[in-house]
């Protein structure tokens, strides 16, 4: 479906060089948004840009390291300079997640990267985008609307037995979203989270190596499959980015086929 719901809007999607971020970027572009592919490496970001352009969409790649505040600031500044506005900030990029035993976990090895790319980067993105999201929300109805979307995980709600320090990094993002939803409500900016389980390259590679894992995940999922990064996850992001969700803020939408039902 393509109804151009984001025509004239500008979106930044971090970690859009692959996986969930790529799916979200594609879906927003399908609806008319100009999308900034904020990727750590041009080698992954540029092919996504080319693919979006080949389908008639508008996209550019800005190489961005979300763990460095200056890099996030530069990405936002460059986006606004090129396109004159920023309406939608999607922070999806995340690194880390090595399985570990909590009692033996080492801060540098098992926590720091997840904290920097998950928690710190969420705050960096919010801080850099805020004035532009305020300006977007000040536009006449139907012509703007500031949106901050943070990509978390069901593990950020239920904890994790395999990667225990992954969960607190993702949980912090939900708390940031709720806090900023309260803080930015007066401007009309909405702040929400998505908790996806989707066929990212990492998950698909894991399935190739361990078909039993795929069977186990599908068996515990009421809808019997993992999500598609564009049609399933990207469409939830589209809803949260569009005017359709203008009265939804501070929420987490778990998009995992019904595997987690604990909210």
């Amino acid at each position: 479906m393509n109804s151009r719901r984001l025509e004239n809007r500008v979106a930044i999607v971090t970690g859009a060089g692959q996986g969930v971020g790529e799916g979200i970027a594609r879906r927003l572009a399908q609806e008319g948004a100009t999308v900034v592919i904020a990727a750590r490496r041009a080698e992954t970001g540029e092919p996504v840009v080319e693919s979006i352009r080949s389908r008639g969409g508008r996209a550019v790649c800005i190489v961005t390291d979300v763990s460095v505040s200056e890099s996030v600031d530069a990405c936002v500044a460059s986006s606004v300079q090129q396109f004159g506005r920023l309406d939608i900030m999607v922070h999806n990029a995340f690194m880390g997640g090595i399985p570990h035993k909590l009692e033996k976990a080492q801060i540098e090895k098992h926590w720091t990267l997840m904290s920097r790319t998950g928690v710190w980067a969420s705050l960096f993105c919010a801080r850099a985008a805020m004035p532009h999201l305020v300006a977007s929300s000040a536009r006449p109805k139907g012509e703007g609307g500031g949106r901050l979307i943070l990509i978390t995980s069901p593990s950020g709600v239920e904890g994790s037995a395999n990667i225990p320090l992954y969960s607190p990094a993702k949980a912090a993002q939900r708390a940031i979203a709720k806090s900023l939803a309260r803080e930015w409500g007066e401007f009309g900016i909405t702040v929400n989270c998505i908790g996806p389980v989707a066929g990212s390259p990492a998950l698909l590679t894991a399935f190739d190596r361990n078909p039993a894992l795929q069977q186990a995940i599908e068996a515990r999922t009421p809808l019997g499959r993992v999500g598609d990064i564009t049609d399933d996850i990207g469409s939830v992001a589209l809803f949260l980015a569009s005017d359709d969700s203008s009265f939804v803020t501070g929420q987490t939408i778990i998009c995992d086929g019904g595997s987690f039902l604990g909210l």
Binding site: S69, K101, L102, E103, A105, I107, W111, S115, V119, W120, L123, A126, R127, M130, P131, G156, V157, E158, G159, S160, A161, P164, L165, Y166, S167, P168, A169, K170, A171, A172, Q173, R174, A175, I176, A177, K178, S179, L180, A181, R182, E183, G250
Partner: protein
């Protein structure tokens, strides 16, 4: 047997004085610093993220590891409800509280096979100098129960033998302010 209470401040002192258990236990009061509210996320500095979120969170991880190394069978982590509710002007504090609260679930999942229970107690924000009027919860109704609310009794129970089937949970002890 005394209970190890890790943390500082009025609440930690209250728990240190009031909690007793015959089961080896540790209580971790997360260092959520409500005295450092941020007027706007636009004013938040990298140094503040480090001081308000990162360093205290690393100490929570260390405290849990210490409790494990002490062979504690009961671990209780105390946070403000601000992590669940969110708090305007308190984003890094809310992030810390929620991060610690969900780490409890991960710890409970990993350490349950060793007979260790790990639970969270969420208390009123004022215990952490957080102003509830701007931090949330924004309750339409006032707090359900009047008078002072103390978490000592609840923490005592979670540190005791009779709570051995309870793990990975968050129990809100705020007199019904946050529901």
């Amino acid at each position: 047997m005394s209970v190890s209470v890790l943390g500082q401040g009025k609440l930690a002192d209250l728990l240190r004085d009031g909690v007793y258990s015959e089961t080896r236990s540790a209580v971790i009061v997360v260092e959520v610093d409500g005295d450092r509210s941020i007027s706007s996320i636009a004013q938040l500095t990298d140094a503040q993220i480090d001081e308000i979120f990162e360093q205290p969170m690393q100490r929570v991880i260390g405290a849990l590891q210490e409790a494990y190394s002490m062979n504690c069978e009961r671990i209780v982590v105390v946070v403000p409800t601000t992590g669940m509710s969110g708090g305007a002007c308190y984003a890094p504090q809310a992030a810390l509280a929620e991060s610690a609260r969900i780490l409890v679930k991960s710890a409970a999942r990993q350490w349950g096979a060793s007979g260790i229970t790990v639970n969270a107690v969420a208390v009123e924000p004022h215990w952490f100098a957080i102003d509830p009027s701007i931090s949330g919860p924004v309750a339409i109704a006032p707090r359900s129960l009047g008078g002072d609310v103390s978490p000592v009794g609840l923490v005592n129970w979670l540190c005791g033998a009779t709570s051995g089937d309870v793990t990975g949970q968050t129990i809100v002890c705020d007199g019904g302010l946050w529901m």
